[in-house]
Every structure is written in C-alpha cells, then in structure tokens.
C-alpha cells in the first residue's frame, strides 16, 4: 500500500462512509420499532470518524448511541401499550436520516472517484516507462 498511497487513503474514506450508510440504514430500519414505555427505546446510531491512527486516511473511532427516552405515542390498540394506552417509539427524525444518507452516499462516491483518478494518474506514469 505504500507505492499507491492515494488509493489506500481513499479506500479508508470509502470504508468509513460505508459504515455511516450502515448506521443510517439501521436507524431507518428501526424507525417504527415500538417498545413498552417501561423499556428503553431503540437508540439512534451515530458514527464518529477520526483521523487514522497512522495518519493515512480516516477511520471509525466508534459508534455513539442516542438516548433511550424515545417519544411516547398514545396508541391504546397497540399490543405493547401500557395501562394509559401509551407506547414508545425511537426519537429518530426521518428527514435527518435521509439527509445523512445522501451525504454518506456522495462522500462514498467521491472517495471512489479519487480511487479511479489516482489509478488513471498512476497508469499515465507507468505509460512513460512503456515507450
């Protein structure tokens, strides 16, 4: 990875954005996951990115979880409703998730553009040696 450094660095960016998309996908998949008011709600996932430990590229420093409070919704017909007819839904905003998804997707694509541009550049350099 030392000769073609640019490709390796862009690869770390692709990995981080892939994990961000995974987190968004997890949040969206659980947006309608109801729970009892006494139980914790689904916790929103946040990906924390940081500079890579070796200084080349980026990495996922960790996953931070949102609160367990959720939002209480009055729905007496729900099988999980408590005595007052309330259930708990995770406090996830769909428009925020969709925006995050777009940012993650664009960042993923831009890192892949770096990979293909770097590849073209390296190939042009190798072409010098062929003539």
């Amino acid at each position: 990875m030392s000769i073609f450094e640019a490709i390796g660095i862009a690869g770390t960016g692709v990995t981080v954005n892939r994990k961000w998309m995974d987190a968004v996908s997890d949040n969206l998949a659980n947006i309608n996951t109801a729970s009892r008011t006494a139980d914790p709600a689904f916790r929103e996932r946040f990906v924390v990115a940081s500079e890579a430990a070796d200084g080349k590229g980026t990495q996922v420093a960790g996953i931070v979880y949102g609160g367990t409070e959720g939002r209480t919704v009055y729905d007496p017909s729900h099988p999980l409703a408590d005595a007052d007819g309330n259930v708990k839904y995770p406090d996830i905003d769909m428009s925020t998730q969709m925006t995050n998804l777009m940012m993650a997707q664009r960042a993923y694509q831009s890192n892949l553009s770096v990979v293909s541009s770097a590849k073209e550049a390296y190939q042009a350099a190798i072409q010098l040696g062929k003539n």
Binding site: M1, I3, G8, G11, V115, I126
Partner: protein
C-alpha cells in the same frame, strides 16, 4: 496461487447472491487474469536480466559508481517483486472471501485488485526497460 483463486471465483460465483456474483464476473476476472498472465511470463526472467545488466555496467570502466548503482537497482527490483507478491496475495485472499460470501467491504477487493494490477504493470514496465537497456549495451560496438 493467483490463478487458482481466480478459478475459484469464476467457479463459485454462481452460488453467491446474484448481483454480487454478476459484478465480480463482469469487472474483475478479465483484468485480473490479464495482469497475472503478464506477471507469470515476466517474473522468472527479470532478476537474471538485471543482474547481468548490473554486472555489465560494473565491468565497463566506472567501477565504484557502476558497482553500487547495479546492486542498488537489483535490490530495488527484488523489493518491488516482494511488494507485488504481497499485493497479489492480499487480492487473492479477498477474491476467495468474495467467492465464499465472507467479504465485508466490496470496495476492499476492488481496490486491492486494482493495486495489484497497477503493481504488475509497473513491474512489467521496469522489467522491459531493464531488458531493453541490457540489449542496448549488448549491441554496443567494441
């Protein structure tokens, strides 16, 4: 070793998820096999030609400079071949993972195979240049 894993990939891509297998079949087999057949033909000849060229440079009257730059180039090329081998085996390992469905990141394999392809092209270019230089010296009138 490289060719085995490619064969494994081609053979078992039918068993993994449809989109996945398709993409691998279309994009990578052709590139990888092309890269590898280049390497296979290039690898055995390169070190011999280079040591010959190095020895020749050393013998033609610039002893000190010829000696050091000759051995330097040979070790540089040996190091380059080792790196190529490492990149190829990384790519092979990921190819097997892709074929068995254990690949975590699709791009990891694509990036590794691209790096292996570039390293192969670079090695072949350097080898061709070295052989060309050797032939040029051999054609010299004395």
């Amino acid at each position: 070793m490289s060719i085995e894993s490619i064969a494994a990939l081609g053979g078992s891509s039918g068993t993994i998820a449809t989109g996945w297998g398709q993409a691998l079949d279309n994009t990578d087999n052709a590139q990888m096999t092309r890269g590898i057949s280049d390497t296979v033909s290039a690898m055995p000849t390169a070190p011999a030609a280079v040591t010959a060229a190095g020895a020749l440079v050393g013998a033609t009257g610039t002893p000190a400079v010829g000696e050091t730059s000759g051995s330097g180039f040979a070790s540089l090329l040996a190091g380059g071949l080792d790196k190529l081998q490492a990149l190829q085996s990384t790519s092979d390992g990921l190819a097997v993972k892709a074929a068995t469905g254990n690949l975590e990141n699709v791009h990891d394999y694509m990036i590794a195979s691209n790096e292996a392809q570039l390293a192969t092209q670079l090695t072949v270019a350097v080898r061709n240049k070295a052989v060309e230089a050797f032939n040029e010296v051999m054609r010299m009138q004395v």
